[in-house]
């Protein structure tokens, strides 16, 4: 996949709204055929960036290239992109079929062929036979599908999705996530998704750009992003991460000696340290599932640290424990899968926590 040609290139893109600096030097490449997500909190510029691809938003400086061609002075209707809007933007005065066939007006094909295309597009999104219905009478999930069919029927090079799932309820959202992934694999079109939901981005994307305040903080595949966030900020935004104050005591031969509160002294590989120096106090970070509470008679694979359970949150399939490691004031969160035969522990229980330096990330 790494060898795929670039589809969209941002070259030092800046965007100002008056005084407000909305995009601060975005440089990134989205590859052909990949499912790419722009992830970030609201106001981080992710939607603005998406709209610069679609052509609804001009840029103040820099360049946006689609398939190698500069999009400067190319209006939205001439770009090889189509968009699924957050509100779906279904034309209320048209039927479902007219909505889906909206972009085919200038197509040279005959009416019968166009009708067939529309029917195929509706079938692809699971709305076969819905063509003659009034678009405004469709439910949220159905509108979403109409919007998808309407965009995909034009065979764009890039499909842009602006928080398309945020208005759906949880069940339908998860179902649509899976359908979107399947659809993307099927049609092979480059998808660019804007979302503020980190779980959604992790589930769906080949690669994710995490944005804060008009800048890309990290661009990586979901696993790297989750396991090796390059800053505390990214780590905080994606999933849950525990932080413990730490100090670096030495560094040699690609290894770093660290001393962390509650964990003692240990050695990690240089690759586990975040690239961006945070300045000030260094800290060690780890995900809740990388620690394990040891039950009686169990031995750790690597190391263990004693602690006391402060809080128990039961989720059905999982239990979250807040454990105060000896010598640390702030409790760390540990998640345990509730496999058969494993009891849920009580608050106040003294316990041993197994961990491994390999799962840690150093922020400094």
């Amino acid at each position: 996949m790494n060898t795929r040609a670039p589809m969209i290139e941002f070259q030092d893109v800046h965007k100002y709204y008056g005084e407000y600096h909305a995009l601060r030097g975005i440089t990134a490449t989205i590859r052909a055929g990949e499912f790419f997500s722009l992830l970030g909190p609201s106001g981080c510029g992710k939607t603005t960036l998406l709209r610069t691809i679609a052509g609804f938003e001009g840029i103040s400086s820099g360049a946006v290239l689609i398939d190698g061609k500069s999009m400067e002075n190319v209006p939205a209707n001439k770009r090889p992109t189509n968009m699924v809007f957050q509100s779906y933007a279904i034309f209320p005065h048209l039927t479902v079929a007219q909505n889906v066939g909206f972009g085919l007006r200038r197509d040279a094909r005959s009416k019968a062929e166009k009708d067939k295309l529309v029917e195929e597009a509706l079938e692809m999104v699971g709305l076969k036979g819905y063509g003659p219905r009034a678009a405004h009478a469709m439910s949220g999930g159905q509108r979403q599908r109409v919007a998808l069919a309407r965009a995909l029927i034009l065979k764009p090079k890039v499909l842009l999705l602006d928080e398309p799932l945020s208005a759906l309820d949880k069940k339908i959202r998860e179902q649509m996530q899976v359908e979107l992934i399947k659809l993307q694999r099927e049609v092979g079109i480059t998808f660019v998704l804007v979302t503020h939901d980190q779980e959604e981005a992790l589930v769906m994307s080949d690669r994710i750009a995490v944005m804060f305040e008009g800048e890309i903080a990290q661009l990586a595949d979901p696993e790297t992003l989750y396991r090796r966030p390059n800053s505390r900020r990214v780590a905080d935004f994606i999933g849950v991460m525990n932080f413990l104050p730490a100090s670096v005591t030495g560094e040699a031969n690609g290894h770093i000696q660290v001393e962390a509160a509650g964990l003692g002294a240990f050695e990690i590989e240089a690759a586990q340290a975040s690239a961006a120096p945070a300045g000030g106090q260094a800290s060690i970070g780890f995900r809740p599932e990388t620690l394990t509470i040891l039950y009686e008679g169990q031995t750790p694979l690597d190391r263990e640290t004693p602690g006391t359970i402060e809080e128990v949150v039961y989720y059905g399939d999982m239990t979250y424990y807040d454990v105060k490691l000896d010598g640390v004031d702030v409790p760390v969160r540990i998640s345990m899968r509730n496999v058969f035969g494993r009891p849920v522990l009580d608050i106040g229980t003294r316990t041993r926590v197994a961990w491994s330096p390999g799962a840690l990330v150093l922020f400094r």
Partner: protein
């Protein structure tokens, strides 16, 4: 309209409560309540009082709801709604429906000298529809109001569009306010002003004269004859009805989700095509409303043809007035009025029917 039981209870309490029974030093709310009591005593306001007492009477209502069908009806939402509109409805019935029915009845009576003979006949309608003058005047009225509607709506649309799409949201109410400024002057005075503008020695002619376009040996020999033309009537009416056309179109444009326009462009259409395929169809309910609001009153306009047309270009309203008052033929005047109303109603319904596909959908 019968008063609801709740207000009956109120009336009983009111009769039992004389002024002296109320405490001397009433708190503010009590004072207000007392004032309302007195007011509704002098001016029976059953609606107001029943609405005000609804909250207090609620438990009673719940009990009543299980009673007879009649009492259930009395406490239904429909009854409450009717109670709320009753003053306006009463007013409208007295001042609109009653005269209309009178006119309708008169149109079937016979005309005697200075009297009306109360015998049912269709002679008036026969006379009206075989009269070439009536047909000519009706046709003129239709042409004038059609022209006025076309001009007004065509000019109002760009204004409404500008207002909705290009004016900053915080300035919109200011613009709307400015658009209603013509209403600060009476309709009659505005019509008179057009007389001043279009007259033989009016603003336009003297203006042209002063820049040397009119005069002996000039481009135009004699001052322009603008008054007493259909064009002058149309211009005056179009000006008078412009705000009525702008507002409904503006409201329809405001309701359009802006992302629909982006979607139109995203799907490959230019701005112009997006306007034609998305904006215009979605604005049609406003355009239809504007057309009806302008067309229906202008066809029956009396003042403008009288003043700007100089009485030489009568429209249907002038003909009705002539029959009803100077000629004192009330049945004939009524028959003309009913005929004109029927024609307007038919044209309006046909117009709405022709545009029905734009008028359905979610509201």
């Amino acid at each position: 309209m019968r008063r609801s039981t709740a207000s009956w209870g109120f009336w009983k309490t009111l009769r039992a409560t004389s002024r002296s029974e109320l405490p001397k030093k009433a708190p503010r709310a009590e004072k207000w309540r007392r004032a309302m009591h007195l007011a509704s005593f002098q001016f029976p306001l059953p609606v107001l009082s029943s609405a005000m007492l609804r909250k207090r009477a609620a438990p009673q209502e719940t009990r009543m709801a299980q009673g007879s069908p009649l009492s259930r009806l009395k406490h239904s939402e429909a009854a409450n709604g009717l109670a709320l509109i009753s003053p306006t409805a009463l007013y409208a019935i007295l001042l609109l429906a009653a005269p209309l029915l009178t006119i309708l009845a008169y149109s079937f009576f016979k005309d005697g000298y200075l009297t009306v003979i109360h015998e049912v006949t269709f002679e008036n309608y026969k006379a009206v529809w075989t009269d070439p003058i009536f047909r000519a005047i009706l046709l003129r009225s239709l042409i004038v109001s059609g022209l006025v509607t076309l001009v007004t709506v065509a000019l109002a649309f760009p204004i409404a569009y500008f207002l909705s799409f290009h004016v900053r949201p915080d300035r919109k109410s200011l613009w709307l306010f400015l658009i209603t400024i013509p209403f600060w002057t009476s309709y009659l005075i505005r019509v008179f002003l057009w007389k001043v503008i279009l007259g033989y020695n009016g603003v336009i002619n003297s203006g042209l004269k002063s820049i040397g376009l009119i005069g002996e040996g000039q481009l135009i020999e004699d001052p322009l004859q603008m008054l007493n033309t259909v064009g002058a009537i149309a211009a005056t009416l179009a000006h008078a009805y412009a705000p009525f056309a702008i507002l409904p179109i503006f409201v329809a444009l405001e309701k359009i989700d802006r992302s629909l326009l982006e979607a139109g462009q995203d799907l490959g259409e230019s701005r112009v095509m997006t306007f034609l395929r998305v904006t215009l169809p979605l604005a049609m309910p406003g355009v239809v409303a504007a057309v009806l609001i302008v067309f229906i009153p202008t066809i029956g306009d009396y003042v403008t043809p009288e003043l700007i047309g100089g009485g030489k270009l009568p429209m249907v309203a002038n003909m009705i007035q002539a029959q009803l008052l100077p000629l004192d033929n009330k049945p004939m005047g009524s028959a003309i009025a009913v005929s004109a109303m029927a024609v307007v109603a038919l044209i309006s319904l046909a117009f709405v029917f022709a545009n029905r596909r734009y008028l359905r959908g979610p509201k």
